[in-house]
Amino acid sequence: MNTSADLSARLEKLVGRDRVRASEPALREFAIAERAPGAVLKPHSAEEVSEIVSFAVAEKLAVVACGSRSKLELGMPPQRYDLALDMTDLRQIAHYDPGDLTVSVDAGMRLNELAKALAAKNQYLPLAVPCSGTSTVGGAIASGIDSTLRQQYGTARDFLIGAEFVDGTSKQCKSGGRVVKNVTGYDLHKLLIGSLGTLGVITRLNFRTFPLPDLESAHLASFPTMEAALNFHASLLKSGLPFSNLELFDSEFSAQLAGLLNKAGGGVAAPLATGKWHVFASFEGSAAVMERIQRELRERSTEAQVASGETFDVESSRQMSGALQEAFDWLRSAAPSVALLRIVLPQIALGDLTELVATSQQSRLRSAFALRACNVAYLALFADTADTQTNAALERAVSELISCAEAKKASATLLHAPLWLKDRVDVWRTKRPDLPLMQRVKQAFDPHNIFAPGRFVGGI
């Protein structure tokens, strides 16, 4: 068994003293679920990542690649955690061909830095994920966390066109390429999306980029009941209008959203105060398209007997969209203990949703609900105290919600939960028939099981 001093010394020899941190505070910064790694390494190239992984294989050390560490809690805590790879020194744009609408970027680059570079050419990457102030490109892909622009642009798998990564045998591999249409070889880069670092260390990602829209706007409609809000939401979905985000949420969700927006000032939050249920619709395009969508929204609002409706200007709609994009982050920190469930529904049915919301309300804990694009619902339960009784109520409510979701053939995963709850409830909550196939994939990528072991579905 290595002592940590011995380990650090050998790592320093491998990558240089300035690339290794082993002080107590440094290790704590990289802790996952209170477990700190034995050392933190900061590689500055894919070659160096490969050397570190090679060392880890030889020494049987578990490796977790980290970006800004904003979403390290996703999944189960790793069963072993020896080395943290701080990827933030791999932060260059390797190729950017604005004329081709493609970009190739190092995994440790921040999304907001990339956005700046793309905006200079009037383009962007529609990956509107939480923790946008710090999130790295690699982290956004590995976490697989939802983008609020999914309604219009799809998920990362729709615009990630290639990747470079170090696999579990320490080899530098690639998949896909830098062209927008390509079927050469297995699409291994798709497997990396949402894999939580269990397959390899992503070093570079290639994306298709998109032109920035001419104009943006958004609309918020308020309703007295869930049924009225859901009918309006359904009518917008069926309209075929190209909304970039279409989100429905309850009063607790809007109260928290309003609190956040009020801190920023500007009065954007005012319309959130009326009505119990809200439907937010954002859209973009040319002046003629904006006019058409706004007209239809007015007409459909009248039909839906909206309690009140408000159309936002560019600035306000960006503010509102930005706050919704961060929902994962503010929901998880809205109480001392929070359980945040992501539920994917087979269909949007009033009965099912009413039952889910009612189940969460029965717990007598505060709860917030939001329905997003592609039948994805977020349900947060807030425990304001940490006493045994409240904890028990939280656990019971989570279990009941999961059972309720599963009875509706929905899949429920726990995006965030206190550690004690994760120990008692499998965050993935899934007995998938294809788990053995996933294990084969894991074994092929990472034969020595060194990448974030135990963090993923089924203990992978």
């Binding site: 798998r157 830098r178 062209v179 070889g185 087979p346 294809d434 993923f456 579905v457």
Partner: protein, 477 residues
Amino acid sequence: MDPALIRELKTLLGPANVLSQKEDLLLYEFDGSVEKARPEVVTFPHTTEDVSRIVKLAAKHQVPVVGRGAGTGLSGGALARGGGVMIVFARMNRILDVDLENRRAVVQPGVVNLDITRAVEHAGLYFAPDPSSQKACTIGGNVAENSGGPHTLAYGLTTNHIAALELVLPDGEIVRIGSRHGDAPGYDLCGLFVGSEGTLALVTEITVKLSRKAEAVKTMLAIFDAVGDASRTVAEMTARGITPAACEMLDGWTLRVVEDYIHAGFPRDSAAVLLIEVEGLREAVQSQAAAIAEICNSNHAREVRTARDERERELLWKGRRNAFGALGRLAPSNYVLDGVIPRSKLPEALEQIHETGKKFGFEIGNMFHAGDGNLHPIVLYDQRDTEQFKRAIAAAEEIIRMCIALGGSLTGEHGVGMEKNELMPLLFSDADFDLMRRIHDAFNPDSSLNPGKIFPLSKGCGEIRVRKSGQSAGPRP
């Protein structure tokens, strides 16, 4: 082949579902590519269980298995390179379920691509991937090859339209992956299996995502007197962020051949045409079409026509979709390439293809998905002339190398198959092959499923070989 296997297959499926006479097998030794390889027995399962049992029998007799849809593939993906048992999905051709509300359809692999759209178009829905062969090709083949089509530009390849799959693994095990409503927790296995060219599993049921038909569509034909002007138009459209639903180019030589056959209205005296389609909201279509016309005109288009009605639109597309048939009138065989280049390199690539044609003594036609840089140079040759065939292959290889040198790729939608597998090292390193091989072996450890595809067989690059075959790799014609 062991006659016992054929007997067992006949017992299992009934004699009407098994072919083993040489004259029957001849039909299955070709697909749409230039390759050739004959299976030793052809089977027609009706159910997933049939497929599983066939696979188990083949495993028992240690012979390889290859799946096949309509045989329209262009890379030899559905050819029995290792001989053995071919599973033809033609009789598993039922649409099992249509859920209009949630825009999903569950289909068997032998369903013809266009039949999915036909089954749902009354509700304003359609299946977006539209290979040129969509009237004949099957969804199982589309899934295996991750097929594209003209509208891939806006809507993506087959992989973007698949929610879940039922698979039969090489040991006969039946597994389901993905989820009907999408977002299954765990690795994106559908992303891996779609486009794996039948080398990991056989697909026996497919849940597809249906798309909503756009409310407005405009189809334009931009006519140019110089190829360079047409390709610069495409590059400029891309650079300005205009993404039409489709943007196809036909060069002058090709369009004349097509026009003589189909009478689609392509002007015979032009150097190139762009067939551009925009769709979406009426307002968006209007402004996109105006912007596209402006770019065409600034690049010296002689004329930009807009189809006035559905009939004119259909005619233009007929010209594009049936073009390969038209070319068939000129030479006994044609070799269609599928390289991809970054779109900004289009003018340069077309010039180089022209040069390659001159060098090897071919008139190389170009009719391709210009909007996403997916080239389809067509080399016409006579397969009976061995020397000519060799030259055609050499010309093709030079073009593929050029695509890669420009930062592109081997194949945009046809797949690697047994046609381009030896060229794979141009793109992938030994490390890349090692990982792909481990993935391959994780599912298909004995290479019993579709051997001799994707991976180079030549020494030093991957180690997947044609195994245990009663027949070696089919000779090229």
